[in-house]
Symmetry: C2
Subunit: 236 residues, 2 copies
């Protein structure tokens, strides 16, 4: 029996993102269509030209925003300066705003949650982001929760960068089964052994990066309303 995929999982690409935010969950979920032919996993961008990232590697998406107006699942990766710039990118913002309402699941990795929040999607919701950006997620109207991933309604947000892999295992199990998610975990041999142990959170100040990020916001966000919001200059 051949069926036409009806549920598109759209990973979003935009210039300047952190590729591990995207590639971690993409690698884990790319086989979804082989498990359940209802699913079609793809990567979408404003255009199909290669886009720069925050490392010396360019990424070229498979489809455009216009090709996938109604994804079943939307996954938004984050980054540093590139993501702060993207917060005011009208094409990206229009796509997120148009695609999210009809999507069954809207996920983000790292500062991808700031993109969702800037589009007004996380108002009053529990969410997470990269540890260094918690202040900005809150200024955009969400309630920051310092967990590896946070689920609130149809929104699933992951912590920084590598947390997207854990989110994808959780999401993959929800879409298929724990057994199949564990098979995908085995396929990517995700049996982490950080050589210097886990992060020691007691030594981490989640506001340490705020001045640097505020400086970046002043430099690259030219939308005054958004900039004021991000800088905490007025409440939402």
């Amino acid at each position: 029996v051949t069926t036409h995929p009806t549920k598109t999982v759209a990973f979003v690409v935009y210039p300047g993102l952190t590729p591990l935010d995207l590639v971690g969950p993409l690698q884990l979920l790319a086989g979804l269509g082989a498990v359940d032919p209802d699913y079609d996993v793809t990567v979408v961008g404003r255009h199909r030209q290669p886009m720069p990232t925050d490392v010396p590697l360019e990424l070229r998406p498979t489809r455009t925003f216009d090709d996938v107006p109604d994804p079943h699942i939307l996954v938004v990766p984050g980054g540093g300066v590139g993501t702060i710039e993207a917060l005011a990118d009208p094409d990206l913002r229009n796509y997120i705003s148009a695609a999210a309402p009809g999507a069954h699941i809207v996920a983000s990795v790292c500062t991808g949650s700031l993109i969702l929040a800037a589009a007004g999607l996380l108002d009053g919701r529990r969410a997470t982001t990269h540890w260094g950006y918690a202040t900005f997620l809150e200024r955009l109207g969400a309630t920051y929760v310092p967990d590896r991933w946070v689920e609130d309604g149809k929104f699933i947000t992951a912590a920084g960068v590598s947390a997207g892999i854990d989110l994808a295992l959780h999401l993959g199990a929800r879409l298929t089964s724990i057994d199949i998610a564990r098979q995908a975990q085995l396929a990517i041999e995700y049996d982490p052994q950080p050589p210097f142990g886990p992060i020691e959170w007691e030594g981490v100040d989640r506001t340490a990066m705020v001045p640097t990020i505020e400086h970046t916001i002043r430099s690259v966000v030219h939308d005054d309303t958004l900039a004021s919001l991000l800088l905490g200059e007025h409440s939402i």
Copy 2:
């Protein structure tokens, strides 16, 4: 003081690879040049056109093989069918064979070690690879060790896909310090929490994939000597 980078860290891209093999360690080590201006981290390929991968995303390298003939460190990612095809790719093989002897460190992720072994670089050495490819690493002359990463002389090989992140933390600490490696770990928030726990190795048969991989070798490896070697039809 401005210094010219003298130590290039070259991540290799070829068609069909598994992007997480590349992007995990690249994301972790990309900041090396900011810590020590002697280092220049880059991504090299046969050409600078976007290349397909095993997921719906194309990757475009920053430089060509010809641009970086003498890397200080060479990092070779792996993959599935694409990597088996790459074993017989003359351009890739020539580059690896020419660049590895002068490199101070030669690293691989996942089946990237098969590329090193096929180029004769791991003869008699201890090495690792993706759990499902252990048989083929041995047939190519290496001694398979089922560790997260294995160091033998200047060769550091990682296990499957996500193991490249752990390898990169180890390598980053060796090139800088444990403190700086831990800062990079914090930057990518690598505090793994696989939702269903680690891999349960007692249930994993490391030969289970052999028939499927042998079938692929028969289909895509047209170099008879290499194919015979990979199929265990004669000893090395």
